[in-house]
Subunit: 221 residues, 2 copies
DNA sequence: CGGAACCTGACAGCCAGCTGAAGCGGATCA
DNA sequence: TGATCCGCTTCAGCTGGCTGTCAGGTTCCG
């Protein structure tokens, strides 16, 4: 999963980031609402860990804006023990879960995995795109009713496209999705994987925008 | 059995959890309706132990919702002595049994086992999957009409697949099923058991999704 | 037409997953 | 009580296929 961590306390932030990274997820850590909004506009996240008391405002405002624009990304609130009203308000505002500080890191892992499972366990929205039928949760794709096998990396990349159909995605954005934040990548890996996806999914599935990046074609494939 | 315990009193919850764990069952303990719903959406339980007075609502509401969506998981209600009307309403709402607090732990064990037996004695839905015939309640499997013997762990794992055919199940999900919530497991136990199941049930029964988990193939075995 | 951007076949290294084997502990039976 | 068995878990060696890289080719655009 790709997770956005919004937390302004350095020590806690590091601990949480390390734990979740160890669990095999990609974590982007930001320390203010402003940067959180930036990240949310450029990257599709699977989960948001949200502290409430932030230097430039209250986390619940972010949550409310998110839900107002129909973004249903799961949110887990990180809150101090004495802020009971915050917790209630958080759940009302559309949070999926909360953790009371100080919390155990294994507890954190458990909640994160639980959200992941819930997300995947939901009744299955099938996405139709031309001749493609995509089962996002179960990682299944059929093309003209024939199953298509994608490798882990291929799937990760394709998922990035699927979550923002029709939008222009820069190489950098796609790399960020494949390789946890900060991991540098040389060579033309993205091009190679786009090529592999085209071979498996159809030549016109992904459109090259010269000098800019790629875009998933939403009309015909 | 895998049991969901919904109880918001810390001491009682711990005692019940320990007792049932000692009896050889896997227990997930949650402390509110909200978390109970979460767990129910992600995990198939064999039994639910349900307290009625919960911080975020009344247990009977959960029970009613459960039955409304045709979930027939057995439910035992945990209720205080003076709430007679609750007990009656509970049985009307589809509970299978109730226990009056404070109750003896051995009494609890007895009821749990009783429900387990009743559950298994039910008229038997046979599941057919390719050349396999599965009798879920009685833990019996035939392959090409030949009986197949599974050990306890093998069965627990296979049951996890059977209850969510075709769905992608992560290692974590499968481990959660084999080892009660939170129990850490190292090494490649899941792989070993998948390997054994394949040997007994057919090579193609379980499909590996590299980097993601496993899936029961529902078409041909 | 020349250069830049992009595509893709090929390949070596590596790692996730598979499985046989062995140690261990609980259950069973003499 | 001691011997034996059986299932559970771990480990290590192996293998196939995934991955990242590069080079040579192709397309695009000024």
């Amino acid at each position: 999963m790709r997770i956005l961590l919004v937390e302004d306390t350095a020590g806690l932030g590091e601990a949480v980031r390390d734990q979740i990274t160890d669990d095999g997820h990609a974590v982007d850590w930001v320390q203010s609402l402003r940067f959180a909004e930036n990240s949310l506009q450029t990257t599709p996240y699977d989960l948001i860990l949200l502290d409430l008391m932030l230097p430039d405002g209250h986390g619940l405002d972010l949550l409310k804006r998110l839900r107002a624009r129909r973004n249903s990304t799961p949110v887990i609130i990180l809150t101090a023990r004495d802020q009971v009203s915050d917790r209630i308000n958080g759940l009302n505002a559309g949070a999926d879960d909360y953790l009371v500080k100080p919390f155990d890191l294994s507890e954190l892992s458990a909640r994160v995995e639980a959200v992941g499972r819930r997300y995947r366990g939901n009744p299955n929205p099938l996405i139709h795109l031309g001749t493609l039928e995509i089962d996002l949760h179960n990682h299944r794709i059929r093309r003209n009713d024939q199953p298509v096998e994608l490798t882990a990396r291929e799937w990760a990349l394709f998922e990035g496209f699927i979550q923002r159909p029709g939008m222009l995605l820069s190489r950098q954005q796609l790399e960020d999705r494949l390789y946890a934040f900060g991991a540098e990548i040389e060579s033309n890996t993205i091009e190679v994987y786009v090529s592999r996806l085209r071979k498996k999914l159809g030549r016109d599935a992904i459109v090259t925008v010269r000098g800019m990046g790629y875009r998933l074609e939403t009309h015909e494939i």
